[in-house]
């Protein structure tokens, strides 16, 4: 039933992200086939895949609602904490739900693109598509981890701002101080240096993202373990 709660808390955000995907695909459709590997589209995709994990992450304990002003949301965490389940399980179910939803978004994006845009079917091979999907899933773990960690001690609205600040600061640091192009840049690996362009998996970027994501999730577990409500 914790899965159900996590789904109820995130379904509107997932729907909102699907709308963003449809909007991006509509832009591609309206600009024609030549834009398929253009930097504008790839940057838009990167932004979307950076935004998705920040939107779908949560702690599973602190109150969540798509709308902040929903009556009675703040105190619901005491009800959650009174259930005979560990905080680790609450966090794990919530995180797994978020990751599954990101995976579902990637699949939805590909299915929609393949169905609606003949150019996608013509220009992007199945192997590149698969590589891109794997890259998105693994390169979004850093942002997901950061956002989950922040969700353990920040209210929902501050979690959103905080995780965007941290992640986009990281993006800026890569651009400002990293070698260009940097093999570690997991942001660009979801956009202009993605497998759609390079036809290869960006292992170094994936490794860094997974390492950051895992470290943040472990820190989130530690925080939840000692957190007092």
């Amino acid at each position: 039933m914790l899965w159900y709660k996590a789904w109820m808390e995130t379904r509107l955000r997932l729907l909102m992200l699907i709308c963003v995907i449809i909007f991006v695909l509509f832009q591609v459709y309206s600009h024609g086939d030549s834009k398929l590997r253009g930097p504008a589209l790839l940057n838009a995709l990167e932004f979307m895949w950076v935004l998705s994990p920040l939107t779908l992450a949560g702690s599973g304990i602190r109150p969540e609602s798509p709308f902040r002003m929903v009556k009675g949301i703040q105190g619901s965490m005491y009800f959650t904490l009174s259930l005979p389940v560990s905080r680790l399980r609450l966090l794990a179910v919530r995180s797994a739900t978020g990751i599954l939803e990101i995976a579902a978004l990637v699949v939805a994006a590909f299915c929609l693109a393949a169905a609606a845009l003949p150019a996608v079917r013509a220009q992007i091979t199945a192997a590149d598509g698969l590589r891109y999907a794997v890259t998105i899933l693994l390169c979004s773990t850093a942002g997901f981890g950061v956002s989950t960690l922040l969700a353990t001690f920040l209210d929902q609205q501050w979690q959103g701002f905080g995780s965007m600040f941290v992640v986009f600061s990281g993006r800026w640091l890569f651009t400002k101080f990293g070698a260009q192009p940097s093999a570690l840049d997991f942001f660009r690996a979801m956009g202009t240096a993605s497998p759609l362009v390079t036809h290869a998996l960006p292992w170094t970027a994936i490794g860094l993202s997974v390492a950051i994501g895992a470290a943040c999730l472990m820190a989130a577990v530690k925080v939840e373990h000692v957190r007092q409500y």
């Binding site: 039933m1 159900y4 709660k5 109820m8 808390e9 609602s65 929903v70 009556k71 009675g72 949301i73 703040q74 105190g75 619901s76 005491y78 009800f79 904490l81 009174s82 259930l83 005979p84 389940v85 560990s86 905080r87 373990h225 000692v226 007092q228 409500y229």
Partner: protein, 302 residues
């Protein structure tokens, strides 16, 4: 089998250096209906949060069914046997009444479907209505349903009747007594409604500034406590040192009002030794015991 469903000893908790609990000793007998009383900020909710594993104690120990409440794994085990009503009565606003019941049910293997049906009807809860659209009273009723249907051995209820109309309060109190009587469920509830506590509690604890100041079986306390109304010939000498058992003394001219908790014969002897003193004894109710202990009174001599 533990004699006490809840036991705390020297329990301490501070927030920002300000003590909320200052060595709380509490013993809730298994099977009792236990009223937990105190003013706002006395430490009632902090105690409940410590018992439920939401907070960690700075010192002392808290045990539920003999298990360490501060041990997360043991606390989960204990929570499986506890029905809980939170102070704010807030639930997931995005779920309907029916959904929140279906959400809660699988966590508790001893869930009482017969009670679920009964309370849905008794509390007139609309299954299809969203929690966010319920009034506070209806949310309280839903919270109570979710606590009472767990088949719990211990109910921890933080202001359970808050927001309920008088008829619903009566229904809830009657149900609590019935559950305690039929299943041997321990009921530990905090309340500001002294009449409710007086009506159903068999034991109480009054907490003030994080410490238990009165604790025991309610009938025994009522039998022990007496108010002694003394009329003196002259003003009370300031040098009087009262014997043990005098809890509170207030003076208004030549009339002295004494709240005694025990040792009544010795206190009466001391009063009779005062020149020209006449004394009357009055029984004391829970309200008076509570107010005399927690109220700051500038006319108080003790």
């Amino acid at each position: 089998m533990n004699d006490f469903a809840i036991e705390t000893s020297g329990l301490k908790k501070s927030f920002g250096g300000r003590p909320a609990l200052d060595g709380l000793d509490l013993r809730v007998p298994a099977g009792s209906v236990f009223g937990f009383l105190g003013r706002n900020g006395a430490g009632k909710t902090t105690t409940i949060k410590l018992l439920m594993g939401m907070l960690r104690a700075d010192g002392g120990a808290a045990r539920i069914f003999g298990m360490d409440a501060g041990d997360p794994a043991r606390n989960i085990e204990a929570r499986r046997r506890i029905g809980f009503v939170t102070e704010d009565k807030e639930l997931y606003p995005f779920m309907t009444v029916d959904r929140v019941i279906r959400f809660t049910r699988p966590f508790f293997p001893k869930w009482r479907e017969d009670l679920e049906r009964r309370y849905l009807k008794m509390f007139d809860l609309p299954p299809g209505k969203k929690v966010s659209d319920l009034s506070k009273g209806m949310r309280s009723k839903l919270m109570l349903l979710l606590a009472l249907c767990r088949g719990a051995e211990l109910l921890i209820l933080d202001e359970p009747t808050d927001g309920l109309d008088p008829a619903a309060v009566e229904d809830v109190l009657r149900e609590l007594v019935a559950i305690a009587a039929s299943n041997g469920t321990t009921i530990f509830f905090s309340s500001h409604q002294l009449a409710e506590v007086d009506q159903i509690a068999d034991s109480i604890c009054i907490i003030d500034k994080g410490r238990a100041i009165v604790s025991g079986v309610l009938d025994d306390l009522k039998a022990q406590y007496q108010r002694l109304q003394v009329v003196l010939q002259n003003e009370l000498p300031s040098t009087v040192r009262w014997v043990e058992g005098v809890e509170h003394v207030r003076q208004d001219g030549r009339i002295v009002s004494i709240l005694a908790s025990h040792n009544l014969d010795a206190i009466a002897g001391q009063i009779e030794s005062l020149p020209g003193a006449t004394m009357e004894r009055f029984p004391v109710g829970l309200k008076e015991i509570f107010l005399e202990h927690v109220r700051s009174d500038e006319n108080a001599l003790v």
